[in-house]
């Protein structure tokens, strides 16, 4: 950041573009906080997770991992698989985030799906400091997410509603993303493979033990499908399916 006015100007460019994300993050974050509260973790846990992890799908899964007392190994592998896409986001951001100054580590840390899509699509206005602009986008988005999850936790604590079934919010979110993937030609086969392999593993290994075999099985099947998938979608198309 060269000076304060640069930073201020970038805010007014960045803020309007984050408004669509604001709605999504407040609502989904709220659902996350509420769900976590229903498992006996108050809003401070929600805030801690939204700051330390900051990834929507993973945090929903983490609620389950926490309340079931998953092993560190299982949690680590799960995180690696769910966040494998970040390897990609990062790759396509290497050029864009070059020379963004002291805020760069934060930009990398805060690169979620939604931030990625905002940073990728919007052109930075000519007279605005690029680093400051990206920083505002990233920071504002995380603020929405943290605020949403805190509000959800507090709401769950104060308003004593029967939250039985609120777990379904996670299921619904994943079903929507799966539907999206099934609608896209290039991600249809991977999505079906994921459902099929994990269903078979669930039948063989049972509900408590099927995750690790599923993740290994999915990686194996995907490697086998590599020639087919490359022919179908073209290797390149995978780089832009954020």
């Amino acid at each position: 950041m060269k000076n304060k006015s640069d930073f201020g100007k970038a805010f007014f460019q960045a803020f309007p573009r984050t408004i669509p994300v604001m709605a999504g993050y407040l609502v989904l974050g709220f659902g996350f906080g509420l769900l976590l509260q229903s498992k006996g973790y108050n809003f401070l846990w929600a805030v801690l997770m939204s700051v330390a992890i900051y990834g929507g799908s993973m945090q929903f899964i983490a609620v389950d991992l926490l309340s079931n007392g998953a092993s560190f190994l299982a949690a680590g592998i799960m995180t690696l698989m769910i966040h494998a896409r970040h390897l990609f986001y990062g790759l396509s951001m290497i050029g864009k985030y070059r020379g963004t100054g002291k805020g760069k580590p934060y930009l990398i840390y805060g690169l979620t799906d939604e931030t990625y899509s905002l940073v990728c699509t919007g052109d930075v206005p000519e007279d605005v400091n690029r680093g400051a602009y990206y920083l505002w986008i990233t920071l504002l988005n995380q603020c929405y997410w943290v605020a949403g999850s805190a509000l959800g936790g507090i709401f769950g604590q104060i308003v004593k509603i029967n939250t039985t079934g609120v777990d379904y919010a996670m299921t619904a979110l994943f079903i929507v993303i799966l539907t999206e993937n099934l609608l896209k030609k290039e991600s249809r086969i991977p999505a079906l493979a994921g459902v099929f392999v994990s269903f078979v593993c669930l039948l063989i290994f049972g509900a408590e033990k099927f995750l690790i075999p599923s993740m290994l099985g999915i990686s194996f099947v995907l490697m086998l499908l590599r020639p087919v998938l490359y022919k179908e979608g073209g290797g390149e198309s995978y780089e832009h399916n954020a």
Partner: protein, 109 residues
Amino acid sequence: MSTMHSAGLIVVISLVTLLTRFLPFLVFRSEKKMPEAFRYLGGVLPGAIMGMLVVYCFKSTVITSWPFALPEVIATIVVVTLYLWKRNTLLSVAGGTILYMVLIQGVFV
């Protein structure tokens, strides 16, 4: 679960997340340097893992006795239909969740 174990899980998840986010910037630096298999898996894994997560969500659903997973089936049909109709993630998630809560709290008790 113990507070310590929960905190430990958050640390593990957070560290692995940081790893996936920083690795491309620290190690590969350009697309050419990333091994081909990594690039391929980074592209196809997310879709496949989402399939697994849906199975994961239903892992404890009982289909052999009353209510035969009817609340899950109904809510899921509504989530997908709403999404195909309006293409609005929030609407589908909120609508499906509220419906599911009503179903298990008030209808299929």
